[in-house]
Subunit: 414 residues, 2 copies
Amino acid sequence: MEIVEKAKLAKEAIRTWQRVKSSLRNKVLEEMALILINNKDEILSANRIDLQNAQDKGISGALLDRLALTDDRIMDMAQGMREVASMPDPLGEVLHGMVRPNGLQINKVRVPLGVIGIIYEARPNVTADATGLCLKAGNAVILRGGSEAVRSNQRIVALLRQALVNVELSPEIVQIVEDTDRAQVQQMMKLNQYIDVIIPRGGAGLIQAVINHSTVPVIETGVGNCHIFVDESANLADACAITINAKTQRPAVCNAAETLLVHSDVADEFLPQVYEALKAKGVLVRGCTQVKQILPDVELASESDWETEYLDLTLAVRVIKTFDDGLDHIARYGTRHSEAIVTESYTHAQRFLAEVDAAAVYVNASTRFTDGSQFGMGAEIGISTQKLHARGPMGLNELTTTKYIVYGKGTTRA
Amino acid sequence: MEIVEKAKLAKEAIRTWQRVKSSLRNKVLEEMALILINNKDEILSANRIDLQNAQDKGISGALLDRLALTDDRIMDMAQGMREVASMPDPLGEVLHGMVRPNGLQINKVRVPLGVIGIIYEARPNVTADATGLCLKAGNAVILRGGSEAVRSNQRIVALLRQALVNVELSPEIVQIVEDTDRAQVQQMMKLNQYIDVIIPRGGAGLIQAVINHSTVPVIETGVGNCHIFVDESANLADACAITINAKTQRPAVCNAAETLLVHSDVADEFLPQVYEALKAKGVLVRGCTQVKQILPDVELASESDWETEYLDLTLAVRVIKTFDDGLDHIARYGTRHSEAIVTESYTHAQRFLAEVDAAAVYVNASTRFTDGSQFGMGAEIGISTQKLHARGPMGLNELTTTKYIVYGKGTTRA
């Protein structure tokens, strides 16, 4: 079926779906969890074909690892569904209500976004995770995963749709773009009539392609060139612990630190100690010329290092002359994701928090906390690095919009 | 100067501007009001050249009227600035705050969006109005008005920038695209690095062009194909008053009604009385075949009438068989702006409010209330008909984003 037909079906189905009570929406997610567990073997055998095809194409390493499903990963997908089911319902909340002087009663109420398109890479677990979050918030979902995962995704979506049928609801609120060529996804990004928002999940290339081609509104997620700025007044033990945590606790994610900025007044004392700790964790350091004077055996950084989201155990390190130079560096190279300062200066802490333009700004804490569960919102669909609609971790509330509900008594405008 | 240079200047200037206290931001707007009044004659003479050029190009009627400035209109612009200055500061509000189990203190705080691009038609008053709202909310603004108003806009912007200089602030937070060809505005819509959001203000063609070409996130405003649905249980006197108000109180605006839907059970009684009232107001009616049976002298509507935003004294009228048919018509032809039902049925009122997908849904009230001032938010920058970020009238809050401010104590993630 053509993507336009699927999108139309999703748009139509949402008129019924949005009337479904939260208890039944939760039941759908429970049913989805169950059906995934009960049909594990079927999913795994579809996944084995995907894996074989990927290996035949020469895909290996991290990409292959993300594509691979196991018993445990399927259990995690089911567990994720159950956790989302147990979260509070975001819908119906009255965000603001008033009676106007003319008696008009106006309530601003949280409602579903509508039809959400998710464009992602070859990670079949996203298929279930994204569906759970979108459906819980009353939305329909159109999934377009990476072509390497096509059979796994087809299988998972067939099961999720069956779960809807099992509870006597229309399966059309979950749609998958099965075509692996680019024509359908290109078309999908222009379906403003049927799709309310597209959320790309994946690397910088994928996100940029969606931004460039979509006329449907996009929520930009992901790229994090995050900094740790060690100020002259920093507690150096804290600075060391925070640097190690932000760089090494999970280097492949967007909230990991990529550049360490060190004030020149503490560089002589701090750099040798943090370098020891980094080396012990297997981190490769690429430093500016001043760093190299203090740590002669590090590699020399080039301009491109300040711009790079390594997503692995590499850290760019730069000595900074003044606090303002530090802010300038972050303004120039940061991607407005998560930025941290380590300082004991009240004034510098306040200025950093106010002046650094990012989704999350930290004093004396690791950038690794920018995450839905760490921020207390449960599962997340991604981390927004744009300023419209949602900024930072996006949970269920960020998958909703609002509507003004107005009660009159034959009220007309004077 | 090239647009990319201007956008860069705006982006840089915002780092200082966002530190400016609200009392000084208000003083800037007061200064702007004053400078507009004191230099009225200068603005009027620039406007006279624009008007002459427009007339030479054969422009007339409503377009010419919108382009024309008068003493009163300039006073209104100044008065608008003063009103925005007197509104509460949207910035700094803590929307949500918590302490996490690990001691991390997280506040979600309202901050400026950043650099806002406004693309609009030949209405020089928008130049001042949009600047006032954007600046009050801590943003920089890049203005691109219709080419017919270029001299008026240049003069107004020069004065607004002078006002900033007068209070010893950088004028670079107000930029104007002076070039009247399309090259610069095309470039502007791709400057994701420097521009945070673009808001188009104008007709459907302008808005669609911006959606199609912009990679910068867009807030879609405007088009309103709004319906009044007269249910079988309606109080017909209310229905008549609401129809007349929604159609005729100000027909050229987006929240005016364009189609009247009448339940077949009340068509015989209601249509003659509403038609009399509409005729008395000079409204031309285009009706479906059933309407024509009751009102033989109306014009016959075609399919395109259900899709048309007339923006003048024309009304499409259709007889509807069931309540659900009414919802279907609105789902198919509505533009998700403002929709109203007139009914005494509790169940139909509740279903209409829940199931109609629009920025504002009304029971027993005119669609004309969808407006910033009517909703108690003061001046507005436009009415969003998209679901991301802002929906319905956009006031100062809608010109902001949020930022997570996180206080740790050497806190790292386990």
